[in-house]
Amino acid sequence: MTITTLKPETAAQVTDAVRWALSAGEPLEILGSGSRRGLGRPVQAGHALDLSGLSGVIAYEPEELVLTALAGTPMATIRVLLADRGQHLAFEPPEGGTLGGLVASGLAGPRRISVGSARDHTLGIAGVSGRAEAYKGGGKVVKNVTGYDVPKLMTGSFGTLTALTEITVKVLPAPEDSATLLLSGLDDAAAVAMLDRALRSPYEVSGAAHLPAGIAARSGVSAVSRAGGAVTLVRLEGFGPSVAARVTMLREELRADAVLGRDESLAVWREVRDGAGLGEGSDAHLWKLSVPPSAGPATVEAIRRTLDVEVFYDWGGGLVWLAAPPDSGAAIRGALTAGGHATLVRAPEPVRAATDVFQPLPEALMALSRRVKESFDPKGILNPGRMYAGL
């Protein structure tokens, strides 16, 4: 076989490439910049469809709160463009990669608790199904209920349903100011209880994380690393006078030890967004657990009965980042008695090929997921196996 990577430059060429793959029965690995290839299971395909040639912003209208770009547009380009007009993608996605890759992986950062995830900001898509048919879904305005919400289905589908060619996202004003309340020395349970208090307040908390001592010590923000123990963080963002007023009130209410100003606040939440260095430099596997927030500490306690793990919490306790020894999947998932799911987000490729990277679904849900996959990609040529073996 001579073809290894197809790199179309137009949406019509994407259709053509998929049509070839369909007729040849050759599965394709769908790539943007390839920055998230380590997320999910390795794709069983001999050929790649590289969409980075479909790059460029088609329309950006700050007053309409929408941006439309080709799927291969680098996120760095979009960030700069939005920042120029004081806007951003509010769900705080990690940096790097392409817009298509971001939507396909459905990621979100600490602000997930207040503004939602990639799913909540993806308004419209165009792409090519595994049937080699170009189609579109959703729209290019912020409010739309016409037909099924196909753009949502695309978020987090890891390219298994459609090779995306164009995406419309909702953009929002970036907060003028950011400040973070810091509490030190709390254990996990006390910290999550404190985050709960903050989140129950009317002060519009947009970040709620807890870094146990070992993680906090590694922070590049000195107020965090020198706190001398665990650090609990509560972020407030918005217009200057509003942030100032809320900081004063919530600091009093939570008896916070310190307040991080704008620069330190931005820096520490970038760290939280990117995993706070958890498990770096070790061969530990990295997991993300999404659980009911109040169940976070107990879930970790249950896991610690059998495993030696390092953790920190985001989303008010509802997101547990966890570094664990290899082969811990069953023990971790066995501890999710309060509901939720665990995803293996960093592990060597052979491991990801041999384990359930995403939480296995109950049989009825898996059967429906298979039928959904078949409705877009009946021959299984788009990213086969990326999410689940055989899907």
Partner: protein, 495 residues
């Protein structure tokens, strides 16, 4: 509006079908009497009426599952229904179909402040959720104007919005978990009290699917703390263009108000005559901008909004000085529909979304259409997100006026699509806009959506005749035409 031709074979088996349903739902849960069925003959889109073959009111998930499974086995269509407040005919019954009423699912199952969520049965009203948590200072954010009556199950089906959804999102952005039953009786759970359901975002597809994919039997929504303060500014403009410019400038300044509503002159006059809200009558456009949040923020932003409005040519500005005054500002807007109902025997409410910058053009073209067909139109507008609600005034007793109003409405929606918008911002497609879907979507777009429907309901028995203008069999949709595998573009770069 043509509905699928009733299957006389199914209607002939009515007795047998009723017996099968009675075996599942005993007693008064199966309704066959014509007078009693009358209660279900239409929803909020009252121009369309149809008696269902039979109505069934289950009270447990198992009964819902059995009803659907049985109907599937017997090849009988099912139309799910909540409170029947749909404005697009989403719950319009079928002559050869079972109407599945979810009105008995009225319990609030779990209030969980520590996880800031509430789990309810689908028949609980939208407002019922907010009321249940109000004493702790919480509320459920999406607030469709029918919130006293409409149920959360219906909200899921329609992905309902409301005046606060620019800032707080639609239903889909506020749902954490669902339990639903597929047409084959399978009971599924999606999501829960945690964020992000695992696997495909099926909750995202089910929300807003207008009852075509499954029947929701349990819902977990997130609740929010009530904002500490809310104040509103009433702004009047000499032209709607200036009003639109002001909205754009507010958003460009980084301000996302809790609510931002616009009314045109006919709507202002109708509302003022009805509720005496104190609206200025010498303006072409009236804007209500509500800022909510901490007092310091609201005070800061009120000043900024006033300054922006002055800069954009506002000829009237009044800031609410009390909660009573704020509510008075809203009273007119919230009563706009019934107010228009007082000045016209009938009115027809439309629901398109446009890119906001197209507002002057759309209003002008709408006026031209109005002049041509001789029907008046009043406009209320969720200005922040571009969602238009033109109200077409007509008299159903005059021959041909209903049809003229519908044609006018269709042309408005086509115009919305033409300027880059969509057919419906929050009311749904239902039967009302079904035949306009081809104006917004190509055949390939619609076929892919219908294939998705096949994954949930391969026999097409759940709420057929809604949303899609042409019904295809799943086998036909699934057929794959594989052509010879040459690359049409031999110049695709490859490595």
């Amino acid at each position: 509006m043509k509905m699928p031709v009733p299957d006389s074979g199914v209607i002939a088996r009515r007795r047998e079908i009723v017996e099968a349903l009675r075996a599942i739902v005993p007693g008064e849960g199966v309704i066959v009497d014509e007078n009693e069925l009358r209660a279900y003959e239409c929803d909020g889109l009252t121009a369309y009426r149809q008696l269902p073959m039979v109505a069934v009111l289950p009270s447990t998930v198992e009964q819902v599952s059995q009803v659907l499974k049985t109907c599937k086995a017997m090849g009988v269509k099912v139309v799910p229904r909540g409170a029947g407040t749909s404005l697009s005919g989403g719950a319009l019954p079928l002559a050869d179909g079972v109407l599945l009423g979810m009105g008995k699912f009225k319990r609030i199952l779990d209030i969980d402040y520590a996880n800031r969520c509430v789990t309810v049965q689908p028949g609980v009203t939208n407002l019922g959720i907010s009321n249940a948590v109000a004493h702790e200072g919480f509320y459920y954010a999406p607030d469709p104007s029918s919130q006293i009556a409409c149920t959360i199950g219906g909200n899921i089906a329609e992905n309902s919005g409301g005046v606060h959804c620019l800032k707080y999102g639609l239903t889909t952005n506020n749902v954490l978990g669902l339990e639903m039953v597929l047409m084959d009786g399978t009971i599924l759970r999606l999501g829960g009290k945690h964020l992000d359901a695992g696997g495909y975002d099926l909750m995202g597809i089910v929300t807003g699917s207008e009852g075509l994919l499954g029947v929701v039997t349990e819902v977990t929504v997130r609740i929010l703390k009530k904002p500490a303060t809310a104040r509103a500014v009433l702004l009047g403009f000499p032209t709607s263009e200036q009003g639109g410019d002001c909205v754009a400038a507010i958003i460009a300044a980084g301000i996302i108000p809790g609510g931002m509503e616009m009314m045109d002159r006919p709507a202002i006059h109708a509302a003022e005559a009805f509720v005496h809200a104190g609206y200025p009558l010498d303006v072409e456009a009236l804007l209500i901008v509500e800022l909510d949040g901490p007092a310091a923020e609201v005070d800061h932003l009120i000043d900024r909004v006033e300054a922006i409005a002055r800069d954009k040519g506002a000829c009237y500005a009044r800031v609410s000085k009390s909660e009573e005054e704020r509510l008075a500002f809203w009273a007119g807007r919230k009563a706009a529909f019934p107010a228009v109902g007082r000045i016209s025997p009938d009115y027809y409410c439309m629901d398109g979304t446009i890119p906001r910058k197209a507002l002057p053009l759309v209003l002008q073209r709408m006026q031209e259409m109005s002049d041509r067909c001789g029907l008046r139109v009043a406009n209320v507008f969720h200005a922040g997100d571009g969602n238009l609600h033109p109200l077409i005034l007509y008299d159903a007793n005059k021959p041909g006026e209903l049809e003229a109003a519908e044609e006018f409405g269709n042309n408005i929606l086509r115009l919305c699509v033409e300027v880059g918008g969509v057919l419906t911002g929050e009311h749904g497609v239902g039967v009302e806009k079904r035949d306009l879907m081809t104006d917004q979507f190509d055949e390939a777009d619609l076929q892919q959506q219908q294939r998705l429907k096949c994954a949930f309901d391969p026999d097409g028995l759940l709420n057929p005749g809604k949303v899609f203008p042409t019904l295809h069999r799943c086998a036909e949709l699934g057929r794959l035409h594989v052509h010879q595998g040459e690359l049409r573009f031999p110049d695709i770069p490859r490595f």
